[in-house]
């Protein structure tokens, strides 16, 4: 059982440290679109590792199934919400700051 506890604590600490890194990223990155990328950390590894760690703590119970459903729902709604944010910014006329223009993007 100690091994399961160790793995679960590692996952929980891993996930929460990535949540902190995402918060730092939102503050440090220069423009709107880069900051959306930092939020992407929260959706994927932040929430994912935390929930996996909690599933190991819960063991084989109904709680694990519910946590699994939360994981699936986050994985589907996270990117969709991110896309909606980016589209809303583009449609209201915000230009992305770019370091290099891509020639093929105009086609």
């Amino acid at each position: 059982m100690i091994v399961v506890d160790l793995i679960s604590w590692f996952l929980i600490i891993f996930g929460s440290s990535f949540c902190v890194i995402a918060a730092i990223g939102v503050l440090r990155l220069p423009d709107y679109f880069s900051r959306i990328h930092a939020v992407g950390i929260l959706d994927s590894v932040g929430a994912g590792a935390l929930i996996l760690g909690l599933m190991l703590q819960a063991g084989l119970t109904l709680v694990t199934i519910k946590l699994l459903m939360i994981l699936v729902i986050i994985a589907i709604t996270g990117p969709t919400a991110t896309y909606a944010l980016a589209r809303a910014a583009l449609d209201s006329g915000l230009k992305a700051e770019l370091d290099e223009e891509d020639g093929s993007s105009s086609s």
Partner: protein
Amino acid sequence: MKKLYRSIIIAILGLILLWVSLSGYFNLLQLSFGILSICLVVWLTIHLKLLTSDGSRLKVLPRYPLYLFWLAREVVLSNILLAKIILAPKILLHRQIIYTKTYQSSDLAKTLYANSVTLTPGTLTIDIAEEGFLVHSLAKAFTDDIRSNKMNLRVAKLEPVDSRDDAK
């Protein structure tokens, strides 16, 4: 018509599993609520014609777990890359919007690819055109990842062979 009955039965079984795993109570009152709501949902899906009769969506289901494991690995790797960029003393970015052609033909596979790109940190799908996506990428490494089309090919392989023709 026979196939429609089969997909109704599959839907009922799936809903029973969902109800039981979410409620966790097995007394008569709770189960009868469950049966009532399952009947309502199944009636609604038939009424709204959401139930497909060919079952082609179920056939590709066994191929998904392998892709999901691969995607999880990719997501963790690019997360660590992005975390390094964020925590570096001086933030070095190479922001670009690139166009990538999609190899998928069905809408479901295209959605899966667009969402996979967005889920992977460092890349973000911002526009979907007829033939491809516009992807905003944060650094050179992420741009190379998209250009190599690894994910694109893997999602294209998930598609059932017969749905490639009737996508149009």
